[in-house]
Symmetry: C2
Subunit: 205 residues, 2 copies
C-alpha cells in the first residue's frame, strides 16, 4: 500500500516501511501508476490529483463534524490517530492540537523552524542566526542567538506544556524539537498511522 501526505512544500510517501519525499514544485504525480492513498493540504496540488484516477483522497472517509471547516486535513488525521495528547507537528508550520479522551479540544498554528529563521533574518541582519536547540530554557538569554532561540522555542514550550498531556512530536523538524521537549514521544509516521487507521476502518484495502 502506497500512502502520501502532501504538505505545502513536499509529497511525503510511505511505501511499506520506506518513506521518502518529493518537492511539490517538480514532482509529477501522474508518473505513478499504482494506487496512492493520500491526504493533501495544498489546494493547487489537490486540484491536479483530483484528475488522476489512481490517487485516492481518503479525507472523504473521515467524520469531520468535530473539526472546523478550514482545519488542515493533516492535523485532523493526526488527531484521529491518538486518544489523549498534545500533537506538535513541526513542518513549514508547527501545528499544535489537543486531543483529550478522543475529543478534539482545539489547536493553534505557530511558524515552522525555517519560516521563523527567515522571519528573524528579515527583521534585521543582526538576527541572522540559526536556532540553538541546546538552549537551557530556565535561563534568560544574554546573547543574540539565544535571545531569538528562546523567543521561538520557550514561548512554544511553555504553552504546549501548560496542557499537562503527553506530548507527541511529528513532522520534518520533530527531531530538532525533541531537544527542547525532552520527555516527548517522537512519532515521525504519526500521519501515516492515522491514515492506515482510517483506511482500515473504511475497509478500503
Amino acid at each position: 500500500m502506497l500512502l502520501c501526505d502532501i504538505g505545502n512544500t513536499s509529497y511525503h510517501f510511505l511505501d511499506g516501511e520506506t518513506d521518502y519525499k518529493k518537492d511539490v514544485k517538480c514532482f509529477d504525480a501522474s508518473s505513478i501508476s499504482k494506487n496512492v492513498y493520500y491526504i493533501c493540504v495544498n489546494s493547487e496540488v489537490n486540484a491536479v490529483l483530483k484528475t488522476l484516477k489512481n490517487w485516492i483522497d481518503i479525507s472523504d472517509l473521515i467524520d469531520k463534524s468535530k473539526y472546523y471547516v478550514t482545519m488542515g486535513i493533516d492535523r485532523i488525521v493526526a488527531v484521529e490517530a491518538l486518544l489523549s495528547a498534545v500533537i506538535v507537528d513541526a513542518g513549514s508550520a508547527i501545528t499544535v492540537d489537543i486531543v483529550n479522551n478522543g475529543n478534539f479540544e482545539g489547536g493553534f498554528i505557530y511558524p515552522g523552524v525555517d519560516a521563523m529563521r527567515e522571519t528573524y533574518k528579515n527583521i534585521s541582519s543582526a538576527l541572522d542566526y540559526s536556532f540553538n536547540f541546546d538552549l537551557d530554557l530556565d535561563i534568560m538569554p544574554k546573547n543574540s542567538q539565544d535571545a531569538i532561540s528562546y523567543g521561538f522555542l520557550k514561548t512554544l514550550y511553555s504553552e504546549v506544556m501548560s496542557h499537562e498531556l503527553p506530548v507527541v512530536l511529528t513532522g520534518g523538524n520533530a527531531k530538532e524539537l525533541q531537544k527542547i521537549f525532552k520527555n516527548a514521544l517522537l512519532n515521525e509516521t504519526l500521519i501515516f498511522d492515522g491514515m492506515k487507521q482510517i483506511i482500515k476502518k473504511a475497509k478500503l484495502c
Copy 2:
C-alpha cells in the same frame, strides 16, 4: 531638546511633547540643523549619523558592562529607565527584557506583529489573516484566524506572565498588545524617558 530613537524601519523623534516618525528609507538626517540626542540600532543609518556633528549618540554615556555586546541600545535604554519590570517593546521585533531591582536578568526577541503576519502568509495563503487581538486566551482555537492569533499571542503571553513582574508595554504596536496584556502599563515614550534620564545624569543639557 530634540530626541531620536532610530530602529530598523523608522526615526522616532520627540520634540518637547510632540513625537513623530520618519521612514529610514527616505529621511535625510542632514536636513536637521539643531542638536539631536539619539540612539540607533540600524548600523547603516548610524554610519551616516556619525558623520554629522549635530547628531549626538548618547549610547556612549551608558555603563554597558551589565548588558551583552550585541544587545540593541534601545533595549538597554528601556531597561535603564525602570527598576523592576518585564519590558515588552513591540516594534518590527518584540523584545522582552527582565529588570529586577535594577538588575538586568536577560531577555529574548520575538517577531513583531507585521513580521509575524507576513510569516504566516508566506507559509500558506490559507494563513493570510490579520491577528485577532480580541481573542480569548483561555479557549483553544477552532478556526484559522484564531489558530494563528493564539500561536502568535498566547505563546508570548504565557512566557511574559511567568516572570511575575509588572509588564510595561512600549513601541509602535504596544496598544494592540494591551488588548492581550490587559493589566500591563502602557508607556509609549519609555525609550525617551530612559534617554532623558541618561542625558540628565551626564549633565549634557
